[in-house]
Amino acid sequence: MGRIGALLSLLIYLCGQPCPLAAAATGEAGFTILYSNTINGETDPCG
């Protein structure tokens, strides 16, 4: 009963989660932004 209970609660938890692969599988529209700001004409620390 304990194991069944744990399994049930896990199922309840998983049912509330978005599938991490869903976006890729359904080809969900999206894009990636690479961004920066405040470069300030500076010699940055990597120079």
Binding site: Y13, G30, T32, I33, N37, T38, I39, N40, G41, E42
Partner: protein, 329 residues
């Protein structure tokens, strides 16, 4: 400036690894250290500014916001650099005094797969800048120009980004007035500011200064424009936790030797049950059940150990030579 070649390597790597369309943008405050250049240093500042534009060309940037600091070399200097740039310098509120038209592009519309993204620029109208630009140009405050422009752009775009020299406090006011703006990247910052949802539909983020980090944000926008704050996931977690606690309660109920622990358990169940009800009520209050936009974000440190992009390194080395040769060093 030497880190730019490493940043270029990182940008290219992210572009190559992404299975989604990639936009590369900069909030502004790119070219100069302050709003006014020292006349003795103007030549060198100009060399560095030109090298920055050439480097951004090689990194295939899409757009950069025009902040007050980018105009430290004068409007004409930036207009000349705009001709050199393969990316768009954006400012919707720096206008020609005579025609009343923007002198830089006010916005850029970019196709991103099946989506269409608008990027708008807004210059911060500081007193120093107003004095500097003189009578040929005028800088208008955002309330006079932005709401109408955003209204128009929303009709034909799925996502709107604002690049602005205005402060984060002003950005919050902008978000309240123009909820159609989905993302704001202010120009001036000191440290990394992770993506923060500042209104139901607007998020704000920045990287730290001097190009120490590259911000990466992957977005799946939805028609509702509302950002997913993760409340549904939080509710699912809390419900799961409640189920486990209720099972423990059943076990301890008839064990007199565990009464202390049992009481603690009941208190926890009571508290958690309250949180679950509050979250359920919050989600029910939502005006619609439309899907919400989701995102993931991270910052990548531009480390000295990263390889160099050879072409950008060449631009930087040449600029260093020119600075060394220039008078007024």
């Amino acid at each position: 400036m030497g880190g730019l070649s490493k940043k270029a390597f990182q940008v290219e790597e992210n572009r190559r690894d992404s299975n989604l369309p990639v936009l590369v943008i900069d909030g502004g405050a790119l070219l100069f250290r302050s709003e006014q250049t020292d006349p003795d240093q103007a030549g060198q500042a100009g060399i560095i500014a030109t090298a920055l534009v050439d480097s951004y060309n090689l990194m295939a940037y899409d757009a950069v916001g025009v902040s007050s600091r980018d105009l430290a070399g004068g409007v004409e200097f930036l207009l000349a650099l705009q001709d050199r740039a393969k990316f768009a310098w954006l400012s919707a509120n720096l206008l020609d005094q005579k025609t009343g038209r923007p002198i830089f592009k006010p916005y850029l519309e970019i196709p991103a797969g099946n989506l269409r993204v608008a990027v708008v620029g807004l210059t911060d109208p500081t007193a120093e800048l107003r004095a500097e630009i003189g009578g040929d140009y005028q800088l208008v405050e955002w309330p006079k120009i932005l709401p109408g422009l955003i209204e128009t752009l929303q009709e034909r775009n799925d996502f709107i980004i604002l690049l602005t020299g205005y402060s984060t406090a002003n950005s919050r006011k902008i978000a309240a007035t123009c909820p159609q703006i989905n993302l704001i990247i202010p120009a001036f910052s000191v440290t990394n500011r992770p993506p923060e949802i500042i209104s139901d539909t607007t998020m704000l983020t920045q990287t730290s200064r001097k190009g120490e980090y590259l911000g990466v944000l992957t977005i799946h926008p939805k028609a509702s424009g509302r950002w997913d704050r993760g409340e549904k996931e939080l509710l699912a977690m809390k419900r799961h936790e409640l189920v486990i606690l209720n099972r423990q309660e059943e076990r301890f109920r008839d064990q007199p030797e565990s009464q202390g622990r049992y009481r603690q358990l009941l208190e926890k169940i009571d508290k958690l049950g309250g949180q679950v009800k509050a979250l359920e009520a919050e989600l029910l209050k939502r005006p619609t059940r439309e899907a919400e936009s989701t995102f993931t974000g991270r910052f990548i440190a531009i480390k000295p150990s990263l390889p160099d992009d050879r072409e950008v390194l060449g631009v930087i080395d040449r600029a260093k030579e020119l600075v060394a040769e220039s008078p007024g060093k």
